[in-house]
Symmetry: C2
Subunit: 315 residues, 2 copies
């Protein structure tokens, strides 16, 4: 079957076609096939939830439970689970096999794990494209699940309308959250596995830390307790997500977030195209020759971009 | 004092001027001051050692001990310790204060901690520029110490001639190393704190994993045992680094690594200049307008780069 046929089936709501389209993006190394580009005009209907937190916090279990709750309300759900744990082997260590038992048994919940191929930057980009595809496919809720460690994963979380930070009550975890910058990006905090000792203390500690933040605006991120493996706390999480969504919509922040996301996407695609055009064989040869000769890198760069038209009228 | 005066002092070997110059780079957000650019013609004399591994593996202690051994041989040492643990607060959590007791008491060892400001990518770039500055300053050995978690830190480690991966013998650690891609980048592995139980087993496990790698070439990464806090294993590490250096020099790989590094640096600076010229007010306005209107990002990108001269002769 050719690409256009797959895209036609995608437009008809075919799940295999959806899976295929996401594979193109995942394997494309940041390149989106030409035939697929038109669908990106229709991005922007889904509500996007980012779920992040340290490894072992129970993010997958929580996302599965949340997905099923949305399903019970009749909403369709798409999940992109970013697994950056294997940047070199080319496959997810906790790949799709582990996730066979996840919410995916319900055809209304589409779950896709994406692992790093090459750079984390490429992964973040592919995950965001895949989220756009789920949005266009018609999923009501798109969940981006990532491990909150590196900058790129934080970028993925920021691509969401609402970001849920999942932590566990072990001592030191809230300090870790501060370190990883998770405090700054969370709209809602969930203290998972909160049947463990010290859960109350950890929740209080988190609340205090959040209240200290100066730039809170109108939304003080709530700290919820959950035991995701038993479904506890998940209805409250869904309600809080709805409240946050309403808050965003009413304050105009939802629209601004979406415009900002489109702005970044345009910039990203433009820069990629531009650099691909710039590095023609002549310029690559000049770069390589200068590197061989040990020329001053700033002088060579200045020479290469010299005369480049800065003004729009010039090109 | 103006910049040129600081640079003159830097050229005379003044340590305060070295510190000042590195601050310019650290605070410049990826921009190198114009007056400083000429010195980058003289990069390429120092032997560069990357030291990476998970948090708590004892990298700092090992780097300090190794630095002192190099000093005992009469070599000067510069250390750039990258601390990415605080991407948002704007300062290192384990900053310079903690490192007051480090090898830095010997004026022949210059130690600088760099924390993330803004993006990790910017940090990796600044760390590499700082390593270049130490090289030009005349340090014989430049050590880049990073936490081995994200892609950018791996990039920093790859900027070295030899990369040392420091692990601890706790069970599961070698699996973690696989995950983080550390196996692929290590030229030498050090099992630190190897007075702990299970150290021998962990070393064997690591060796087996390394032997399974298909693309080993002529250098099979050795696995050394150390107790860095007592200085044990550090003379062996220094000897092994010398062997690796000799191996790189004799095989031609050392020269190739350095050319490759210069090539990447030229490309990086060129692209930064190019993009700064490209995003003039007209193009930024078009991008923002398209984002507001929800236009197809690929169409807008195509329009923005249309007519951009791909061939060198065209500009």
């Amino acid at each position: 079957m050719d690409r256009q046929t797959w895209i036609d089936r995608f437009e008809q709501g075919d799940l295999r076609a959806l899976s295929r389209v996401i594979s193109w993006i995942e394997n494309g190394g940041g390149d989106v096939p030409a035939e697929l580009k038109p669908i990106f005009s229709r991005v922007g209907r889904a509500f996007r939830v980012g779920v992040t937190g340290p490894p072992g916090a129970g993010k997958s279990t929580l996302v599965d439970g949340l997905s099923l709750l949305y399903r019970q309300e009749g909403r369709t759900v798409g999940v992109i689970a970013v697994d950056p744990s294997s940047p070199f082997s080319g496959g997810a260590l906790l790949g799709d096999r582990v996730r066979m038992n996840r919410a995916g048994v319900d055809p209304g919940v589409f779950i896709r794990s994406m692992a790093t191929r090459g750079s984390l930057g490429g992964l973040a980009e592919a995950a965001m494209d895949a989220a756009d595809v789920l949005d266009v496919f018609g999923k009501d809720v798109v969940i981006l699940e990532t491990v909150g460690v590196g900058q790129s994963e934080l970028d993925v979380a920021r691509a969401a309308d609402s970001t849920v930070v999942v932590l566990v009550p072990e001592s030191g975890d809230s300090v870790q959250a501060m370190k990883a910058g998770l405090m700054e990006i969370g709209d809602i905090f969930v203290l998972n596995k909160s049947d463990r000792p010290a859960a109350d203390h950890a929740a209080d500690e988190l609340r205090s830390a959040l209240e200290l933040k100066s730039d809170m605006g109108a939304w003080l991120p709530p700290v919820l307790s959950a035991v995701a493996s038993r479904g506890q706390g998940l209805p409250e999480l869904m309600d809080t997500l709805k409240q946050h969504h309403r808050h965003l919509a009413e304050s105009g922040a939802l629209r601004e977030k979406r415009v900002q996301r489109r702005r970044q996407r345009i910039q990203q695609i433009t820069e990629k195209d531009l650099l691909a055009r710039f590095w023609n064989p002549d310029r690559l040869a000049r770069r390589d020759q200068a590197a061989e000769a040990g020329e001053n890198p700033f002088s060579v760069a200045g020479e290469l971009v010299k005369g480049f038209p800065g003004k729009k009228e010039d090109i």
